[in-house]
């Protein structure tokens, strides 16, 4: 009897329990939930939370031209309201609404909205002081596991320096590293890193450029171990990394992580110049700490180096940058420390055919052999990766030398790395105005030039890729006293120069190309403009690994079009060469000369020669003087460049 009573009561209790546990779906609690929903929405409206900076940052709203707001996020799943992309208020209301959803209503595999939007949930919870008895907090198992696996104690901004041979990397790149253990200065390889990048859907380079410029790629955040990025950027592309520890509180780091989860499966349309990798790294940092104003200063284009400046400009945000030399910089760092005998030994390893291990190497002590082999193995590492494009392939020749190395002692490594690049925030700002005055065969003139971006060959290299030039939209006009007219001197839509030194170990080529409008100076045509396209290739030699003098020589194929030409065009080539010399860090001298021939179209030829000098007074100010001759036309200018 007792037993059966127990059983009956037990059944009743179980049944009641079932009813109660399912109650949030049933009518028992729905009345209150409905009330509480309404109440929360009303309170949110009253507090104008939809107008709050944090809400705008969380949903990535930016003001439109017409005073409304639109989210930069482009994935529908990122919004709770159908019109959430353009209506912050509706999105907020719908978000609160969906936090009440009963898990039973979710489709298989679908996460609860509280788990899909954990940063929004946390923010609203704290702003509206959610009553957990009336709005049940749902367990988010996947989120919790993900967060505890990444488990960041710190955040580091990483700048990957310039990679001239790829258009997407010419300006550098930024990513975040989520640091697990603050105790160790090095050994960050096992931390996770956060990258925002486009997922290109085409291998066609023309389509690639077009789609990249106009936002046809989806840009996504990704998380991967930092060692994969080091293999990518440092070892394969040989880009130095600069790591800036950021001063964020544990709560801010938690918000950042939750927000990254929200962004994870979604996407932004990727715009090469605006909404690019670096822009969205800033936008998530603003979510972490809404007091930071990082994205506001970028209106038209976002250059990775400038985003680093935006971060280092914030008082107290970024700590001292740590330099992580690329594979090639590591090798060069070892090379500059070798003694002459050791250098000879390295040379023998690189150039000896059979046997590779020759007398120059054999004559060294074990310690010296180890130093030489460490440098040589960096070189083999570089060669193997370039050849295989794989992180796990070692050629048999490398394997022989690795085995040889394993028989030699451990050598002490120097504590500080030799720096082969400089921090991006050391560089001049990317827009420039130049005012100049001069005299040429047509008389005295004044010149004004402007460009929105980026760096020219004569500007100070600090913070930029050395001996390179990337110009966008550089326009210059001259006013000649005699003619009394302002006229277009040049317009460079794009102009790129890379004078990477060719040396025994790295057979790098130099190149240049440009598209724009220039003034015809070799012909007796006063103030005629021509559309100009050119592409040149050649080699540069440098006086030692860190030498101050560079010699270059290029063959530049030139096509020009103008009404002034016979048949309206001419096509030919310029054989040119020059010397760049740095005297101290502020002063640069550039001598260049060449001979251009145009056998097609308007047949013509001329020689040209210029001597230019630059003296950098401040980071954002330099003065230049130029003396030149094109054909029979001579010209002298003095000018001031201001960067901003």
């Amino acid at each position: 009897m007792k037993g059966s009573t127990h059983t009956v009561w037990g059944q009743v209790v179980v049944a009641l329990g079932l009813v109660l546990s399912g109650a949030s779906a049933g009518f028992a609690q729905s009345g209150d939930a409905q009330d509480y929903r309404r109440e929360l929405r009303a309170r949110a409206r009253e507090a104008r939370l939809f107008d709050d900076r944090e809400w705008r940052l969380l949903v990535h709203y930016k003001p439109t031209l017409f005073g409304a707001y639109e989210s930069q996020e482009d994935a529908p799943a990122f919004f709770n309201a159908p019109n959430g992309k353009t209506n912050p208020e509706a999105e907020l209301a719908a978000t609160i609404e969906r936090f009440f959803i009963d898990p039973a209503e979710l489709k298989a595999g679908e996460e609860h909205p509280q788990c899909d939007f954990p940063a929004r949930y946390q923010w609203l919870k704290s702003r509206l002081s959610f009553d957990s008895t009336r709005l049940r907090e749902r367990p988010c198992e996947r989120l919790d596991r993900w967060m505890s696996e990444i488990n960041p104690k710190g955040v580091t901004l990483v700048f990957a320096s310039y990679f001239m041979s790829s258009p997407a990397s010419m300006f550098g790149h930024t990513l975040l590293r989520l640091d697990q253990d603050l105790g160790r200065a090095d050994g960050r390889l096992l931390d996770y890193s956060v990258n925002f990048a486009a997922a290109p859907d085409t291998n066609n380079p023309v389509l690639y450029v077009f789609r990249g410029l106009f936002g046809y790629f989806k840009g996504q955040f990704s998380v991967a171990p930092y060692y994969t990025r080091v293999q990518d950027y440092s070892n394969w592309e040989s880009r130095d990394l600069w790591e800036y520890p950021l001063n964020l509180s544990p709560d801010q780091i938690d918000t950042l992580l939750r927000h990254l989860w929200e962004l994870g499966g979604n996407y932004f349309d990727y715009l090469y110049f605006q909404e690019n990798c670096s822009y969205h790294i800033l936008s998530v940092l603003e979510v972490a700490n809404p007091e930071l104003r990082l994205t506001d200063r970028f209106a038209f284009h976002v250059i990775p180096a400038e985003t680093v400046k935006a971060v280092t400009d914030q008082p107290g945000l970024a700590g001292n940058a740590r330099y992580r030399p690329s594979l090639v910089s590591q090798l060069n760092g070892k090379r500059v420390r070798l003694s002459p005998d050791e250098t000879e030994g390295l040379r023998a390893l690189v150039f000896n055919r059979e046997p590779r291990i020759g007398p120059e190497y054999q004559a060294l002590t074990d310690q010296a052999k180890a130093r030489v082999l460490d440098a040589y193995l960096d070189y083999r590492h570089y060669l193997d990766m370039q050849a295989s494009k794989r992180p796990d392939w070692i050629s048999s020749e490398t394997q022989i030398m690795l085995t040889e190395r394993s028989k030699l002692p451990v050598v002490e490594r120097p504590g500080t790395a030799v720096e082969f690049s400089s921090r991006p925030e050391m560089g001049h700002d990317s827009a420039r105005v130049r005012i100049a005055a001069g005299v040429d065969t047509s008389g005295v003139f004044q010149e004004i030039a402007f460009r929105p971006a980026y760096h020219d060959l004569m500007a100070k290299d600090d913070g930029y890729s050395p001996d390179s030039q990337i110009l966008f939209g550089d326009v210059g006009a001259r006013y000649y006293d005699r003619s009394g007219r302002l006229r277009l001197q040049h317009f460079r839509l794009i102009d790129v120069v890379s004078l990477a030194p060719y040396e025994p170990l790295f057979h790098r080529k130099s190149f240049r190309f440009g598209i724009g409008v220039d003034t015809i100076r070799d012909l007796p045509c006063r103030f005629c403009n021509a559309i100009r396209l050119d592409y040149g290739a050649g080699v540069t030699a440098r006086s030692g690994i860190r030498g101050a003098i560079r010699f270059y020589s290029l063959v530049d194929v030139i096509g020009e079009s103008s009404r002034y030409f016979d048949r309206h065009y001419r096509l030919g080539a310029d054989l040119l060469g020059g010397v760049l010399a740095d005297i101290g860090s502020a002063w640069r001298v550039h001598l260049a000369g060449g001979y251009a021939m145009f056998p097609l179209g308007h047949r013509s030829a001329y020689s040209h020669f210029t001597v230019s000098q630059r003296y950098a007074i401040f980071r954002n100010l330099d003065v230049r003087a130029e003396l030149g001759r094109v054909g029979t036309r001579r010209e002298a200018t003095v000018g001031v460049s201001v960067y901003f």
């Binding site: 996460e111 596991r145 790829s166 160790r184 994969t228 990518d232 592309e237 994870g264 996407y267």
Partner: protein
């Protein structure tokens, strides 16, 4: 003029060949896998994952992403993963007996930082056996563990 245009395009094409190769700069778009299960997103990821490190990174994050509760440390797959994604660097450190990659690997094997030197010395002395001609990541991990097993004192300080 035309030729010059063609040349100019050639530059753009040549310059962007790094992309044409489908290399990971475009992002091993692991995010979508790592964060949420969205079928569409997965396909994008799969499509962009044939680059330098794509497949490897994929495995790493998919481990955490699908939330198989796979702690990074001491998991065999993480160790293999690390060896595969990092082999060119790791082998160099092993042969030299020290280095950042070797230290990270020691950590993955559960050897404390204080055992780094001893671990490095062991890896260097057994290099030729561990990294044979056939250096599949799983074989390297097994070789390392075998070498450790022969050094009970050091092995006892690693959490194998």
């Amino acid at each position: 003029m035309k030729k010059s245009l063609a040349v100019a395009f050639g530059v753009l094409m040549g310059a962007s060949s790094a992309f044409a190769a489908g290399y990971g700069e475009a992002g091993c778009g692991l995010g979508s896998v790592a964060f949420q299960n969205q079928p569409g997103a997965n396909q994008i990821v799969a499509a962009s994952l044939n680059g330098l490190l794509g497949n490897q990174s994929f495995a790493v994050t998919s481990g955490t992403s699908n939330c198989d509760a796979q702690p990074k440390l001491m998991a065999e797959s993480s160790q293999e993963q690390f060896v595969q994604s990092n082999f060119t660097s790791l082998a160099k450190d092993m042969a030299a007996g020290e280095g950042e990659n070797l230290a990270a690997f020691a950590e993955l094997l559960g050897c404390g930082a204080e055992n780094e030197k001893a671990f490095g010395a062991l890896m260097q002395s057994r290099y030729a056996e561990i990294v044979g001609d056939d250096h599949a990541p799983s074989a390297v991990v097994a070789g390392v563990k075998q070498a450790l097993a022969a050094e009970p004192e050091l092995a006892s300080r690693c959490a194998l």
